[in-house]
Structures are given as C-alpha cells and as structure tokens.
Symmetry: C2
C-alpha cells in the first residue's frame, strides 16, 4: 500500500510550456503548419512528457500481463480457461501475434504471470508476479481481496520502475523508453466491462460486447453475470482499488500499476485495447494526471471501449477492427508514435533546406 501511495503522489501533470516549444519547432520544418496532423500531436506530447526539447526513444517494451478468471464458470467465454496458460507458453516461444507485431515494431515483450490458474514452475522468460491462481467467480463474491488487488497494482508499478531505472542508466539520467500494455486472460472482457460499467456509470449492456466472439445467448449470460457481480459485491465507484478487487482481475491490476509507474517515472505508455483500457481507467481513477502519459493505440471493436477512452480524454490512433489484445494494438501504434518523433527530430527546417516559407494568402 505504501508503494501505491508514494507512486500516486509522485505523478505530476505535464507542463504545457513544452507543447508550445514543440509546436514552434514543428512549424519551422519544411511542411505546411499542422499538415502532419496527429503525428505532430504525438511529438508534442513526447516532448512534454520527457520535459526535454529533443527527446529520444531508444527502447520499446510491451508488458503482457496474464491472468485467469473464475467467472468463466458462468459460460461467458468461447475458449476454455486452459488457453490462458497455453497462450503464455506460445508468447514465450515467440509464436503469438504479439511476438510478431512486437518484432515488427522493434519492441521487447515482457510476459508477466499475474494470476494464471496454472503452475508454470521455473520457465525461462516468464516474469512471475502471481497474486492469485485465477480470480474467484465474482458473481458469488469478490474476484480478489483488497490486499491482492493492491499487490497486483504494485507488481505493475515495480516493473515500470525497474525498466525506467535501467533505462536512466544510459547517461542522460532520463528514460528513453516507450512502454506498451497488453493482456492475456480467457474471460477477461467480462471484468473489463464490469469496470467500465462501474467507473463510467454506464449500463452494463451498453459496455458489454462479444469478446472473442460469443453467441447471443452467451452475451446474455455475460451481461447477467456482470449485473449480478455488481449487485452481490457493490463495488464503490469512488474507490478504484475496491472496484478492481471486487469485479476486476489480477492482470488488469498489473496494467493499472504499469500505467501508474510509467507516469511516475515520466515514461510514455501506449494503451492496448479493451482490457488494457480498463486497467488504465483504474489508474486514471486513482490519479487523473496519468492520462497525460497515455496514448490510446486503437479503437477496439468491443462495445464499451469508447466510453472508457472518453472518460480519460483519449482519442484512439488506429481503427483496424482489432479485438485480440495481448498488446497487438499497442505494438502497431508504437510505429506511428515514433514516426511522429522522427518527424520532429529529423526533418529539415525551411532555413536549412533553402525552402521559402513565404505565405501568399
């Protein structure tokens, strides 16, 4: 609890003066002002996050947090729970979508066991931060205890701090990393929708979708399960840790912690899709300034994503009908965010290039 508290206290909003400084440089480059649209916005925000007129990104890391969910007993998912552990092994062998897209983006994948219902023993490449062995079925009681929820958040904070610190050893004392979030957990759109409903004050049916592709019948069961969970556990919307513990999940807590840790260490963090956004929303509810450090990678197919993004004031970068998770959207968006930074850093100015910036009308 102490680490969570001190981390939240460490988070400060970005200073708008840096965005102004970035805008001046962007307008001196050989292009009509503003003509690179959101790429320019990305660059301006990276400058402000770093508090540095010429920031660099030399390392990209995607943290894929895995956990299982007791609520799948209610028949809310297409796939059996064993698939979570099987996919973790697939991540470690490099055969999953996130491995392919992270390689494409030049990003490292860090796979974290937050709450998989399986004992991996010693296994190379897996970060063990297991808080629970699968959450409880939240239609009958809380998914986790409050202590477990805090431990899940603090595990994410520690990972962010560890990677930001290693990074700062590069001499400048400043992080040159870009973090991304990801998730794996059969059934985890269900707790994510529950979090969306409680924290945005939306009706459950409005923020609950088909996940990996369930039938109408299963969708009905899923909505009922979430409504029951909220009735049975009465999560307190004013207490994000209470929401996470009662209707959330361990991997969602890890994501929330990573976002808090990124913001506390002034590292930009790319939020993947629906589940990651639920984790980010927990972080945002604990400290709204965290959204200054977030980039929303894409607009998920999943209903309810938009309500969460709007609550945090984030506009998604991509809209490619993705609904996979793992960090795949974050990996794709990283390429665009770093493109914005390269525009800022590498383009010639009008003066350097001998191009007229005279304006006729």
């Amino acid at each position: 609890m102490k680490l969570l508290k001190t981390t939240i206290e460490k988070i400060k909003p970005i200073d708008p003066k840096w965005r102004q400084a970035a805008a001046e440089r962007l307008d001196s480059l050989t292009k009509p002002p503003g003509s690179l649209g959101r790429l320019e916005e990305f660059a301006g925000r990276l400058v402000a996050i770093a508090g540095d007129p010429m920031p660099e990104i030399t390392r990209k890391v995607i943290f894929t947090f895995a956990g299982d969910h007791g609520v799948i007993e209610e028949g809310v998912s297409v796939y059996p729970g064993e698939v979570t552990a099987q996919m973790v092994r697939n991540f470690l062998r490099g055969g999953a979508a996130i491995n392919v897209l992270a390689r494409h983006a030049g990003a490292k994948v860090v796979v974290v066991d937050m709450g998989v219902r399986h004992d991996f023993g010693k296994i190379k490449g897996l970060v063990s931060a297991k808080v629970v062995s699968g959450t409880g079925n939240f239609t009958r009681g809380p998914a986790m205890t409050r202590a477990e929820a805090i431990r899940s958040i603090e595990a994410g904070i520690r990972l962010a701090a560890r990677f930001a610190k290693n990074d700062a050893k590069n001499g400048s004392g400043k992080s040159k990393s870009l973090f991304g979030t990801g998730d794996m957990g059969i059934g985890n759109t269900t707790p994510s929708s529950a979090i969306a409903a409680v924290l945005t004050g939306s009706e459950v049916a409005r923020v609950t979708g088909r996940g990996t592709g369930i039938s109408d019948e299963a969708l009905g069961r899923k909505i009922e399960a979430i409504e029951k969970a909220i009735r049975v556990n009465a999560p307190d919307a004013g207490d994000p840790v209470d929401v996470l513990s009662k209707v959330g999940g361990a991997e969602i807590g890890g994501i929330a912690g990573l976002v808090l840790g990124a913001a506390a260490n002034r590292v930009p963090v790319v939020i993947d899709g629906f589940i990651s956004t639920a984790g980010a929303l927990i972080a945002h509810a604990l400290q709204p300034w965290t959204s200054d450090y977030m980039f929303a990678s894409h607009k998920s197919v999943e209903t309810g994503h938009r309500a969460m993004l709007e609550r945090m004031g984030l506009v998604p970068i991509l809209d490619l009908d993705l609904r996979l998770g793992e960090g795949t959207g974050a990996a794709l968006a990283m390429g665009l965010i770093t493109a914005g930074l390269k525009i800022y850093r590498e383009m010639a100015t009008f003066g350097e290039a001998g191009v007229s910036d005279e304006v006729l009308n």
Copy 2:
C-alpha cells in the same frame, strides 16, 4: 499510346480463390478468427495479388512525382510556385517528411520530375521524365495536350515496370515489392479537385478544400477557377485521358501510370492522399480492376477525398488528419500492411503451439 493500351490489356482482376486460401490459414493461427481485423484483410489481398500462398515483401519503394501548375496564377495556393523545385531538392537531400517516414518504413524514395517549372540540369538522384515545364493555366485552355498526358502516364508505367522487373530477377520470377505513390506540386490540390468533380460527378464546391491552408477568399477563387476550367475545357468524363490533359497535371499522370504499371505487373500499390487518389482515379477510370491492387493509405483532411475512395471501393487505413502528400501517408500505411503479412507468415498455428481451438459457445 501503344504502351498505355498494352498495359491496360495486361491488367487482370485478382482471383478470389486466393483470398479463401488465405482465410483458411489465418483461421488456423493462434488467435480468435478475424480478431486481427484489417491486418487479416491486408494479408488476404497480398496473397491474392501475388497469386502465391506465401508471398513476401522484401522491397518498398515510394515514387514521389513532382510537377507545377499554371493555375496558381489564379491565386489558389498559399505557397509560391518556386517551392516545388525547392522541395524536390529537399527530397534529394533527405530532409523532407517523406524522407523521414520512408526511412522509418524501410522504403526507398524515387523522386521523379514530371513537370516542374525549373531546369534542374544534371542532379544526382532525380529521375527526369519531364513532360511539361509546368502545365498551362487550365482556366484558359487545357493543362496539357493529349499527347503530353499520355506521355506522363506512360512514364509512370515505365517506372513501375522497371522496378517490378529488377525485382523479379530475385530468382522466384515474382515481384516482392510494395509500391507507394507520392506527389509534390504547389497548387496540385486544384487539378485533383477538378478530376474528382469530373470523374465522380460531384459539385466542385463539394470536392474542393483548403489544400495547404488557404483563406476563405482563396477557397472561393479556387472553386471558381475549377468551375471555369471545366466550362472552358469541357473534359469528357468518359475519356480519362481527356480529363487528365485538360484539368489534370503531369505528376498526377505519373501517379496514374504507376498504378496501371503496378497492376499490370501484379505489384501491390499504396495510394497516398488526395492528389495520389486523383491519379489513382484516372487509372481506375481506365481499368477498374486496378483497385484490386490498391491500398488506400489514409483519409485525408481534404474534402473530396472520400468521394474518390468510395468510387474505387477503397476504405482508408489511417485517419491521422494528414494533408501533406509527398507519399507520407503511404509510408505510414506500409508499416501496417506489412504487419498484416508478417502475421500471416510468422504466427504459430494452434497445432504448432499446442493451444486448444475448442470452442465452447
């Protein structure tokens, strides 16, 4: 004229059987079916374009065609005409946005002088295919002669064929390239809007925007200039070459030719923004099957872009408020298109990964 005719005759539609074959493989990979949305669509189309169950892309080339426009006499642009030649030099020195974004995408930039009103002499790295030294002011007569328009298209066709052929020497006999289009030409949103109006049958005001950022007054002049050009020249909507010669431009012809040449050589081609789409629309009007080979990189801020994309049945990949041209949107989209292909080529199947594909509901 002979080259244009034989090229058009060579273009065939893609065979849907390949998309079916691609879909089968995509559904065997360790992810819920369809969960990577448009990435899967990109992969399926690349398979069908190549006519190969396991296509590769080993080279990306962006062709940036430059030309000047007599119509700028009418006060339709923010920047003076000299900027076209200045920006060509900026491209050759590597300081422009397209250079930065092409490097980011791992793409080569080929800069082509189609009709710049400047004599570059011998200058390293510039492909000279000059058809005119700036077009005529099309409010008073045709922008180019019919012969010039055909020469501009054929220059693009030759470039596509040359790059596709070099490429085919890699042993497989098949192209492993991905082409992108780009443009540079002060004033060239004006002919592009004229082409959009004539070929989509839209009112001029509906497809005419602010280009690099003109005032309300200049926008009024621009719309008037286009309306006058259409009145004076009476381009024949049923004859795309007539439209290009009367209200188009030499770089737009080069783009049209590149698209035709790409389709004829079965090379996928990424269409940049508004000006490139006008060029692609000329190609599409000559042979509608060309759109099978096109990827629309992004939705431009420029009014009128959507009408042209819809006419060709293309859905833009990105929406980042870009309005620069040069090929910048194409460079950014290339990263997503090749990500789709890597998913298809590199992901593990359920069998390989030992992941259950049992479906519960």
